[in-house]
């Protein structure tokens, strides 16, 4: 025992020693390495001048000329995977960039499965990185709070990103502010998409319904499937996306429900909600109105459906999304959004299945317009060439030739435009053999107004696409991003409560809706939802005030 204690002590001593060594190294790093120190300096200056004396710095920027005499290499990180045809596109892109701004880009990807672990690390390590993908759903706020990004000022935009600055809505800059400072360059064209549910026309005919105005109308459709289609599950939900979707749609009949709480923004969580079409921006708990009655209404219907066998009993373990086996006749309803459902529609058409699209709009017939922060780029805090990076971003986001290149690939090889201005594949190239499929390279933040409709779209999809604008309505909280710094533990606890007490309600797998709802409420209170709400309200009122 004595020997053991001794051995432990020595090991602890060793750890301590190394901790000290490492600290020393770290300190050295900060003070002695000149490049990082010097690269930090301009950013501080920039932010200082921006906040202190806007007029002075404006005159300064007019005087400063853009100096691109030194060739630089910019390291860029995007999400996803490089398509096979990337090297060629990158060569071409670099040719253009070299000519325009004397810079080249080295492009790296962070794979989808690794984003959670790798994205913060790439920023934390202060590695060689200049431009990085940023979005509110991808840790933008928390990373910005930690100081991962280079502050963006209006001067910088005016000087280095004229094309972007000309088009961007100033509200986007407001939206991108974290603790009063903008760190992100949001896309100029937020996604236009609505959530949809797709039904089969033939079954609708059998069930005797021709159209659907609200989601609960599909009950006869579900009943018909249950009765006559033995292999098909009316609502065959998967564990991630589909799980709360029918419930969300039902709640959405009662008030404009955004399906994710304001605090965590996680659709599988619970917390503080709001009616996104309510201009006053009132927030409420699940036990307040209108949430309580809407939730109980939706949970009641889900329970009825679940008990009737319309919902698969074990969605938690099902990894196949309903839209992926809809055309195979396994799911009665396919859930998706107006972007990703296109492939399902095309596949069904090939099989000769007629489809009906139901846009999952709220009681007033609207879906929330996406915020700017859904897609964008940021400059890493210790980028050595932030100015050049901004120029490169300006070109990539807003120059049509750049947009076509990074989004569609090389003309004639990866895409062609048809005579009527539609996007199509070149002779002899199939969507399978295309080495640079559109959208796949991760450049989702470019100016989408340059995009062309696809020649392969089905008619009902084109209708949806054209109707989209009329569906979208402004969301009161479009530019609000909650900073959970002060209530981290509570938000974490709520996620936990959600999976155990909220998700069973959403699929209807409960014995008694009222009782389960009460349990949920008491667990949420125990998890500290009231504290979260206080914090949300404080930030929300500041936000609402800033919008006036």
């Amino acid at each position: 025992m004595k020997a053991m204690r001794k051995s432990m002590l020595s090991v602890f001593a060793l750890v301590l020693l190394f901790a000290m060594v490492l600290t020393a190294c770290g300190n050295n790093d900060n003070s002695s390495s000149s490049p990082s120190a010097s690269s930090a300096a301009p950013s501080e200056k920039a932010s200082e001048s921006a906040s202190a004396s806007p007029s002075a710095s404006a005159s300064a920027s007019e005087a400063s000329k853009i100096d691109n005499s030194k060739e630089v290499k910019l390291v860029m990180y995007l999400l996803g995977e490089a398509p096979k045809g990337m090297p060629e596109v990158l060569t071409k892109l670099n040719e253009k960039l070299k000519k325009d701004i004397n810079a080249t880009i080295e492009l790296n990807y962070i794979g989808w499965g690794d984003v959670a672990s790798k994205y913060p690390l790439v920023l934390a390590s202060g590695e060689d990185v200049d431009i990085v993908y940023a979005a509110d759903w991808n840790y933008y706020v928390s990373e910005a709070t930690k100081g991962a990004f280079y502050p963006i000022t209006e001067d910088l935009l005016k000087t280095y990103m004229p094309k972007y600055f000309e088009k961007q809505d100033p509200a986007a800059y407001e939206a991108a502010k974290v603790n009063g400072q903008q760190y992100m360059l949001p896309t100029v064209t937020p996604d236009r998409k609505v959530n949809v549910a797709v039904l089969r026309k033939d079954i609708m005919d059998k069930a005797g319904i021709t159209s659907i105005s609200k989601f609960s109308d599909i009950e006869p459709y579900l009943a018909e499937i249950k009765k006559d289609y033995k292999d098909m599950i009316p609502l065959n939900l998967d564990s991630q996306y589909d799980l709360p979707t029918p419930f969300d749609n039902l709640v959405n009949e009662k008030f404009s429900y955004k399906a994710a709480p304001l605090d965590s923004g996680d659709p599988l969580s619970v917390g503080v909600f709001t009616d996104w079409e309510d201009p006053s921006g009132k927030t409420f708990n699940v036990w307040d109105e209108p949430a309580q009655s809407a939730f109980k209404y939706a949970a009641g219907i889900m329970k009825k459906w679940y008990d009737a066998g319309y919902v698969n009993k074990n969605p938690y373990s099902n990894k196949v999304r309903s839209k992926d086996n809809f055309c195979e006749g396994k799911s009665g309803v396919a859930f998706g959004n107006s972007n990703d459902i296109q492939a399902t529609l095309a596949a069904c058409k090939e099989k000769g299945i007629d489809t009906y699209i139901f846009a999952e709009n709220g009681p007033q017939g609207h879906s929330p317009a996406n915020g700017w922060l859904n897609n964008g780029l940021a400059i890493a805090a210790n980028s050595k060439n932030p100015e050049r990076a901004l120029q490169a971003i300006d070109l990539i986001m807003r120059d049509e030739s750049y947009v076509n290149l990074v989004y569609y690939g090389i003309e004639g090889k990866n895409y062609v435009f048809t005579a009527d201005g539609k996007l199509s594949l070149p002779e002899g190239v199939t969507s399978d053999s295309n080495t640079y499929p559109p959208d796949a390279a991760g450049f989702w933040f470019v100016d989408k107004d340059y995009f062309k409709p696809n020649a392969a779209w089905t008619d009902n999809y084109v209708d949806l696409y054209n109707n989209m604008k009329s569906f979208l309505a402004p969301d009161t909280y479009v530019a609000f991003s909650f900073n959970s710094e002060k209530v981290r533990s509570e938000v974490a606890n709520l996620k936990n409560v959600a999976s155990q007490y909220f998700l069973p309600l959403t699929i209807g797998a409960v014995k008694d809706v009222d009782k389960s709802f009460d349990t949920l409420v008491s667990k949420m209170k125990a998890a500290g939802v009231e504290k979260v709400k206080t914090e949300v309200d404080a930030q929300a009122s500041a936000y609402l005030a800033s919008r006036k």
């Binding site: 190394f18 770290g26 990373e143 698969n312 009993k313 938690y316 373990s317 099902n318 974490a492 996620k495």
Partner: protein, 324 residues
Amino acid sequence: MQTNTEATAAATAANIGRKKRNGFLRDLATNKVLYLMFAPIAIYYIFFSYIPMAGIVMAFKEFNYREGIFGSPWNGFDNFDYFFSSGKAWLVTRNTIIYNVIFLGCYTFFSIVAAVFISEITKKWFKKMSQTLMFLPYFISWVTVSAFVYNFLNYEYGIVNRILDSIGIAALDIYSTTSYWYFLLPFLYVWKWVGYGSVLYLAAIVGIDQEIYEAATIDGASRFQRITRITLPLLKPTMVILILLGLGRIMRGEFDMFYQLIGNNGLLMDATDIIDTLAFRSLMGSADFGMSSSVGVYQSVLTLVIILTANWLVRRYDKEQALF
């Protein structure tokens, strides 16, 4: 050659002087070659474990990039808050320990059974083939396993339920009933790891001196007796070390299995939630280094206590079989 004799002499000297209180440096001087042989691994672990280990302070800090790991402000036990205020800290700790003890027990038992019987088989091709087959599950990831399990057990079109249906028995709702999982999880665990475990025990059996068996056979021991009297007792050191090492993972263990098979299933959660799944669920979507390392620290401290106790117990009975 000369250095060799010197070393031997020194070693003898060390043996003699063992009762005296010798310093580390003296030991180092007398056993330089041995220490030198240990040096590569020591250097590796210093660089790849001990130095990064200093980062453990993050669990007690509010990390930001400007000030770095060591410069960020301390925040005491704030990072642990979410775990202990979840109201489930005790439940998941208990679940983690119970499951891992069951896993460890079943795994050890079946690995030994498999190894002993494989060693009794005389046909070489059969021996090899059966071992290869037992190893196959090791390669199948839990994602795939969970897809298979869902395919076989789900309520609507699971194969099990179809068979039950065809013989007129009501379908089982396995994914909403906790009791099945107390059996299923250990079964799947053993299934996945039995090949792996049996390799180690088989290596130990093969290492047993054949002369001992010969002597026993001559003395008229039956095959069964040879197993119980020779093989099993001689497997004990291997078993003890493997169990002790298994205890070292008792607070973590097989996150993937629970996550892939159970996922967010609220109906099974009280019975199947372990520390890692709770932490994962709570922290999903937030890139908080402090909070994510805090649970690790909790697990490490508990493990340390458990392993020191177990090691101490083993030492009391047999010094040679302890871990350290």
